[in-house]
Amino acid sequence: MDRKDFIRNSILISSGCIIAPNVLSQESKIKTNSKLTILHTNDTHSNIDPFPKNHHKYPGKGGVSRRFNLIQKVRSEEDNVLLLDAGDIFQGTPYFNKFNGVLEMKLMSLLGYDAATIGNHDFDGGMDGFVNAKSSANFPFLCSNYDFKNTPIDGHTKVYTIIRKGNLKIGIFGLGVELKGLVPDKKFGETIYIDPIDIANHIALDLKSKGCDLVICLSHLGYEYKSNKVSDRILAKKTRNIHLIIGGNTHTFLDKPTEEKNIDGNTVLINQVGWAGINIGRIDFTFEKKIFSKNDLLLVE
């Protein structure tokens, strides 16, 4: 277990002149390193307890209590940890049938989730059901491509959030899958699904212009499809300014993040960790921030 993969990767982030020129004149080159650790889950589907011992595929795997233990261990080792979920928190065990998602929300709040997005199954208790359960959550639900106007969910989600960790600024937004044909009409009511590509580009640019060092998309679009249905891989290729897509919906077990090139040829990472909380994904970003004066630019290889 715990195969450690080192991804050969370099993501490029640029920002404007963030140090005043007078600082530069005193010291032409400043180097600061910061590290951000992202832990993530998707499609946990109300799997509070571990799978039974006689489960022929995942005996004894998963369980929220042990997940918390791991998260605490990582938090004790790292300064800047973000905990994120890519949707489908609900539906899959009697915990949801009987308690309507309240326990899932309470537990995610206890575990200290920083943000989540809405999956198609998070509509299974109806929109009022989602709002009721969400009242037990202390973290935001991010979704940018559902228009919830005229629905009970209106006002209960955010388009994006910006989180500061150490000296880093992280922009996170959410994308949901097309609901028609996946969720019974009456469960999503007047929710309007909007094509995710344009919106993603718009928000990612906005987050960049707000000075985010890293832009993360929590996506429930799905990893990839045989058809041309929009997926995380298509999203990565057709957008810019997104550095990491944390995906869900297709229950895809990835050993390590997939690397795609975006419109500008820059690397985008996509990761997804199956379902049911069997695995938890971790991605560490180390930012080596260098501030150069104009003359120093010549020295860069």
Binding site: I7, F68, L182, F287
Partner: protein, 236 residues
């Protein structure tokens, strides 16, 4: 060994007197949540009252299984068991002489059934949705749409029919005059999983039975879950 690719991206060089550059190195890891990890007391005490309340009801042994029922496409023992259970739960007299078969969706089976005791909870995990069994009457002109759908999806659980050489063959074929019946869920009838052929429906009979309840009854009725690996869908 960590291989680092370092690239510098200079934003606005030449336009402004300074630039900030990030080299970002990434490293990833996947943790398996398993028994090497301790339980967490805080989480356990939050879960406990909910678990106790559920266990009273859900840990009832309702059947036994000598096999692992797995889920796969185009055919699976789990798909066969599920579709058979739904078929068995409906009153066949409504069909008269007409053809009928049961059609579920692969994606709607949310868990597997394991060898050993079968708990009520296992059926809740297999069929967590509160979907109702409905009987949909369709014109024969819709049959080809269903065949195409099943072939392109790679297989769906069916009962009382076989799909071979791109054709659905009913086990008890009635007269091919006008219509046939599909036993399915209200979710699929309403266009779930893009089964748009249900829009052609002539008539719908509501059973007011949940798929899950039918499966629970069927599991209880069978001393050991009936294990059937037969192939019902041939994708050629």
């Amino acid at each position: 060994m960590i291989i680092r690719y370092i690239l510098y991206f200079i934003f606005g060089a030449g336009l402004i007197a300074c630039s900030s550059v990030h080299n970002i190195f990434t490293e990833s890891n996947t943790y398996i949540i398993s028994d090497y990890l301790e339980q967490n007391n805080q989480a356990d005490s939050l879960i406990l009252p909910y678990r106790l309340s559920l266990e009273k009801e859900m840990r009832e042994v309702i059947s036994k299984s000598k096999n692992n029922f797995t889920k796969s496409r185009p055919n699976s023992s789990l798909g066969n068991w599920s579709a058979d259970a739904i078929l068995n739960s409906v009153d066949k007299s409504v069909f008269g002489l007409k053809s009928y078969f049961c059609l579920l969706n692969y994606g709607g089976l949310r868990s597997v059934l394991n060898k050993g005791d079968v708990y009520l909870e296992d059926i809740y995990k297999l069929m967590p949705f509160d979907n109702e069994i409905v009987i949909v009457e369709l014109p024969f002109s819709s049959l080809e749409k269903i065949e195409k759908y099943i072939i392109s999806s790679g297989g769906e659980p069916i009962s009382n029919a076989i799909l071979k050489f791109n054709k659905i063959n009913f086990k008890n074929p009635g007269p091919v005059d006008y219509s046939f019946f599909v036993i399915t869920s209200d979710y699929l009838m309403n266009g779930g999983d893009n089964m748009s052929f249900f829009q052609d429906k002539i008539n719908v009979i509501h059973t007011n039975i949940l798929l899950r309840d039918a499966m629970i009854l069927e599991a209880k009725r069978q001393k050991y879950l009936v294990f059937n690996k037969e192939n019902r869908i041939f994708l050629y």
